[in-house]
Amino acid sequence: MTEKELVEGCIREDRECQRLLWEKYSKKLMALCLRYCQNQEEAEDALMEAFVKIYDKLGDFRFQSSLETWMRRVAVNISINKIRARKNIFKEISESEYEIGYSDFSFDRLNVDQINQLIEKLPVGYRMVFNLYAVEGFSHKEIGEMLNIDEGTSRSQLAKSRKALQAMLNGLNLGRA
C-alpha cells in the first residue's frame, strides 16, 4: 500500500488503514515524544493526542512533504504545547554545573539509547532546542517561531545544550578511561 493510498484510506475512516498508520509510525513518534516530554506518561498522552489530531487532520495533508515529516511536525507541536504549559522551559542553568576542561570522547562508544538517556537529562529548554535543531533539522528561525522566542535565544540554548552534553559525555569518558 502506497503512502497516498494509506492517507486516502484514513480519510475514508477505513479502520484497517488507520491501524496500519498507527503500527507504522507510533513507535517512532513515541521516541520523538519521549525526547521532548518530561516523563513516559506525558509522552504517551502526547502520542495519543498526536494521533487523534493526525486522524482528524489528514484531510489537510497536501503531500507537499513526506507523510512522516508531517506527522512528526504534528507530534512535535503537541509535545511543545504540553511543555509550554509548564512555563519553565528556558531556565538558565548555571554553567558551573558543567565545568569541564577538554574532550576527546569518541561517540562511537555510545549507542542510541545511551545518547537518548543523556538528552533526557538535559533541562527542558535545552532539550527542546537540541531536538528541534540537531535531530529534526529545523532552522533557528523555525524554532524561534515554534517556541515564540528569538533566533538568538535558540542559538544560545543550542550552544548550552551541546556544552552540557559534552560535559556529561566527558564524565562518562573519564569513568571509562
Binding site: E23, A31, A43, N88, K91, I93, A134
Partner: protein, 460 residues
C-alpha cells in the same frame, strides 16, 4: 567534533520507543470518538448558550409565577366556606335583626330603590329586578366600610405591608358576589363589633416560617352563626419549589519550600463555583435539589528541585621538566577530582481546570436565636472541560492530561439567611469545599478549600 554527527542524527531520527499497555490503537480511537461525542460539550459557547437559555426559562417561569399568583394570591382564602350551617330560618332571623339595627344597610337599600328582596327561600337568591346590581353595590359599600376599619386595626398591630395586602385582597374579594352572598357575614352583629375583632386580632397567631410572615390565623368561633374558622392568607398555596443561584470562591495554600527537600512546592490555589439549583422544600426545614455547576480551579506557584551531585573537576598544572644536558620541557599534569555540588533548580508552575458538574444538594433551614440560618451540603459529580498546565501537591507535580476527566466535588456550608421579600432570600455561606479530579488510572487528586459564597433563593 560536533555532536551529534550525521550518524547519530539518523539513529536518533529513526529510533523507536515502546509504549506501555496504557497506549494502543483502540485507545486512540476511543479518545477520538469521545472527543467527537463531546465536541458539543467542549465548546464554551455551548455553556454560554445553555446558561442564557436556562436563565431565560427561569425568568419566564418566575414571571409567569408572579402573574399567576397575583390573580390567585390576592384573594383572601376562605377555608371551607359554605352555607351548610346557615339554616334558612336562622339566617332569616339574622337578616331581620340586621335590617332593624343597621342603619347603614337601610340607607343603602333606600338609595338603591329596591322594590323587593326574597329572603325566604332556602338559598340566598336575590330578586331578579333591574335594581339588583344597585343592591349589591350598596352591600359592597357597607362591606368595604367595615373591612377598612378592620384593616386599620391590623395596621395598628404593625402588620405593615400585610395589612395593605389584606385590604386589597378584601377589595378584590368583594367582587366575588356569590361567595359573599353565601357567607353573609356582614349580616351578623358580632361581625361588626370592633372590640371583638380587637380581641380576635390580639389572640390571633401569626403564621410564619423561616422565609417570613405568611399570615394570621383568626379564631372566629365566637361568632353567633357557625361559620367555620378561616385563615387570612397572603398566598393561596405557597410553592414548595425554590430556585437558587449561588457563587462561591475559595483558596488553598501549599507551602513546603525547604532546601533539604529534594522537591518542594510553594503555591496558591483558587477556585470559584457558579451554581444553579432547583430545590424542593419538604416542610420540615429540609430541602433537596439538583442543578448544574460550573467550576474554575487555578493554581500557581514555584517549584524547587535540590540535587546533590558529584561533579568531575579537572585541575591542570603546567610543570617544567629540567634535566641535565636536556632541553627544558613542559608537561601538563591533569588531576581529576569529584566535587560535591548542590544544584538548586527552580521554576514556575501553574495549572487551570474548568469543569461542569451536576450537584445534588441538601439544605436544612433553622434558626439560631432569631437569626435564620441554613446548613447546606452537596455532592457534585462532573467532568473537566478544560485542563492545562501542571498540577502540584506539596511534594510533587505532574502534567494534567488534556482529555476529559471525571471530577467529584463536595461542599459544606453554614450561614445566615436574610429575607429580602416574601419570595427572595439572600444567603451568606462560609464554606468548606472539596475539589478533585480523577485521572484515567483512578488516581484521585483532590484539595480542600475554605471560602465564602453568596446565594440568592427564590420561592416560586
Amino acid at each position: 567534533m560536533e555532536f551529534p554527527d550525521e550518524f547519530f542524527k539518523d539513529k536518533l531520527f529513526n529510533s523507536e520507543a515502546e509504549y506501555s499497555e496504557n497506549v494502543s490503537f483502540e485507545k486512540v480511537m476511543d479518545r477520538r470518538r469521545k472527543k467527537r461525542r463531546f465536541l458539543f460539550w467542549w465548546n464554551p459557547k455551548t455553556y454560554a448558550t445553555m446558561g442564557v437559555l436556562f436563565l431565560g426559562g427561569l425568568i419566564a417561569f418566575v414571571t409567569n409565577s408572579f402573574n399567576g399568583k397575583s390573580n390567585n394570591s390576592d384573594n383572601v382564602q376562605v377555608s371551607n366556606v359554605n352555607n351548610r350551617n346557615s339554616a334558612p330560618s336562622k339566617l332569616n332571623t339574622v337578616k331581620t335583626e340586621l335590617s332593624k339595627k343597621n342603619s347603614i344597610e337601610k340607607e343603602a337599600f333606600a338609595t338603591s330603590g329596591i322594590v323587593k328582596t326574597d329572603f325566604n327561600k332556602s338559598e340566598l337568591t336575590f330578586a331578579k329586578s333591574t335594581n339588583e346590581l344597585k343592591v349589591k353595590k350598596a352591600k359592597r359599600i357597607k362591606q368595604a366600610t367595615y373591612r377598612s376599619v378592620l384593616n386599620q386595626l391590623v395596621s395598628e398591630k404593625s402588620l405593615n405591608d400585610q395589612s395593605t395586602l389584606t385590604q386589597s385582597n378584601i377589595t378584590n374579594k368583594v367582587t366575588e358576589e356569590p361567595k359573599f352572598a353565601k357567607i353573609s357575614n356582614w349580616e351578623n352583629e358580632d361581625f361588626y363589633n370592633l372590640s371583638k375583632w380587637n380581641d380576635r386580632l390580639n389572640s390571633a397567631k401569626p403564621r410564619q416560617n423561616y422565609f417570613g410572615f405568611e399570615g394570621l390565623k383568626l379564631d372566629m368561633s365566637d361568632l353567633e352563626f357557625e361559620l367555620p374558622d378561616f385563615e387570612v392568607k397572603f398566598r393561596n398555596n405557597p410553592s414548595k419549589w425554590f430556585a437558587e443561584l449561588s457563587v462561591i470562591t475559595g483558596s488553598n495554600n501549599t507551602i513546603v519550600f525547604k532546601d533539604d527537600l529534594p522537591l518542594s512546592v510553594l503555591g496558591t490555589q483558587y477556585m470559584a463555583q457558579y451554581q444553579m439549583l432547583i430545590l424542593k422544600d419538604f416542610e420540615n426545614g429540609s430541602m433537596f435539589g439538583a442543578g448544574i455547576q460550573f467550576s474554575e480551579w487555578v493554581g500557581n506557584g514555584r517549584w524547587q528541585r535540590t540535587s546533590n551531585l558529584m561533579v568531575p573537576k579537572v585541575i591542570t598544572r603546567k610543570v617544567l621538566i629540567s634535566a641535565p644536558w636536556q632541553p627544558k620541557k613542559y608537561a601538563v599534569l591533569s588531576d581529576t577530582t569529584y566535587v560535591p555540588t548542590t544544584t538548586v533548580q527552580t521554576g514556575v508552575i501553574d495549572y487551570k481546570i474548568d469543569k461542569v458538574s451536576f450537584p445534588f444538594a441538601y439544605r436544612f433551614c433553622t434558626s439560631i436565636g432569631k437569626l435564620p440560618v441554613r446548613f447546606g451540603m452537596h455532592l457534585s459529580p462532573g467532568y473537566t472541560t478544560f485542563t492545562e498546565g501542571v498540577y502540584f501537591t506539596q511534594t510533587d507535580f505532574r502534567p494534567i492530561q488534556s482529555s476529559s476527566q471525571m471530577t467529584v466535588d463536595g461542599r459544606l456550608t453554614l450561614g445566615p439567611m436574610f429575607p429580602i421579600t416574601k419570595k427572595w432570600t439572600f444567603v451568606m455561606e462560609p464554606s468548606l469545599i472539596y475539589q478533585s479530579f480523577i485521572t484515567p488510572d483512578n488516581q484521585v487528586n483532590g484539595k480542600f478549600f475554605t471560602g465564602l459564597g453568596v446565594a440568592i433563593l427564590h420561592q416560586f
